[in-house]
């Protein structure tokens, strides 16, 4: 079964995680996506994700208030993304 689950993961897919109000607006905590080759950085990925649902569109409409991480490191809009990456979108952090 594990092998079966794994076989369904496309080699060009990336894991996208959402937190806080980004998660609430998107309506998902995470999803596996396979953006087209034209999507090469965080900014491009945000634009592409916006088209996936009304929830995505609403979340990413607040683009300036959204922060991103690639493979668990904070990054800027021009950071490259590629298959196999773990990408996360969330509001500015408010811990402490």
């Amino acid at each position: 079964m594990a092998a079966c689950g794994r076989s369904r993961r496309r080699a060009d897919a990336m894991e996208v995680l959402y937190f806080a109000w980004v998660r609430q607006k998107v309506g998902l905590g995470s999803e596996r996506v396979s953006p087209p080759p034209a999507v090469t950085d965080i900014g491009g990925l945000m634009d592409w994700l916006s088209s996936r649902s009304a929830g995505h569109a609403e979340a990413f409409a607040h683009g300036k208030q959204i922060r991103a991480a690639v493979n668990q490191e904070f990054c800027t809009r021009d950071h490259p993304v590629r298959a196999g990456d773990e990408v996360a979108f969330f509001p500015p952090v408010t811990g402490g």
């Binding site: 995680l17 937190f19 806080a20 109000w21 991480a69 668990q72 490191e73 904070f74 996360a88 969330f90 509001p91 500015p92 952090v93 408010t94 811990g95 402490g96």
Partner: protein
């Protein structure tokens, strides 16, 4: 050397403080900051969400940065997640060193950086059933930025 924990359970300030000097006689000072949940504007609870995996990584990075800047004998960061009631503790930062200035500065650095550099998000729940995400404050960015 450093203790880093993200947990739902409350923590024991006395035990964590004692652990930094237990069995050793080279610690001159332990500075600490305990963050508590205030009940502003009818707040009923804070709900803290985080990014498992990245949180621990980010905290380890912040602690390593502090250890690089100051000669610490030990360091502890414990951050709670989940539902926290007014008056309850949220976060504990401890920095121990031979000298007080290193301990005090490292403690202030750790809490300032933690506020802006670790993936935690607070949602406020009010007595009237309303709920809202806490917005990041420019003053927190400024506090973290002052460390350069």
């Amino acid at each position: 050397m450093a203790t880093i924990r993200v947990q739902e359970a409350p923590f024991d300030v006395a035990a964590e403080t004692a652990a930094l000097s237990a069995g050793r006689v080279d610690v001159g000072g332990i500075a600490s900051f305990l963050g508590l949940c205030r009940a502003d504007d009818g707040l009923a609870a804070l709900v803290l969400e985080h990014y498992p995996g990245m949180t621990e990584r980010a905290l380890a990075g912040i602690v390593a940065e502090a250890e690089g800047r100051w000669p610490l004998t030990g360091c502890t960061v414990i951050h709670r997640v989940g539902r926290i009631l007014p008056g309850e503790p949220i976060v504990l930062v401890l920095a121990a060193s031979r000298h007080r200035t290193a301990a005090l500065e490292a403690c202030a650095f750790l809490i300032d950086w933690l506020k802006t550099g670790a993936p935690f998000w607070k949602r406020e729940e009010f007595a009237d059933g309303q709920s809202r995400w806490v917005e990041a404050r420019a003053s927190d960015d400024a506090a973290a930025a002052k460390w350069g």
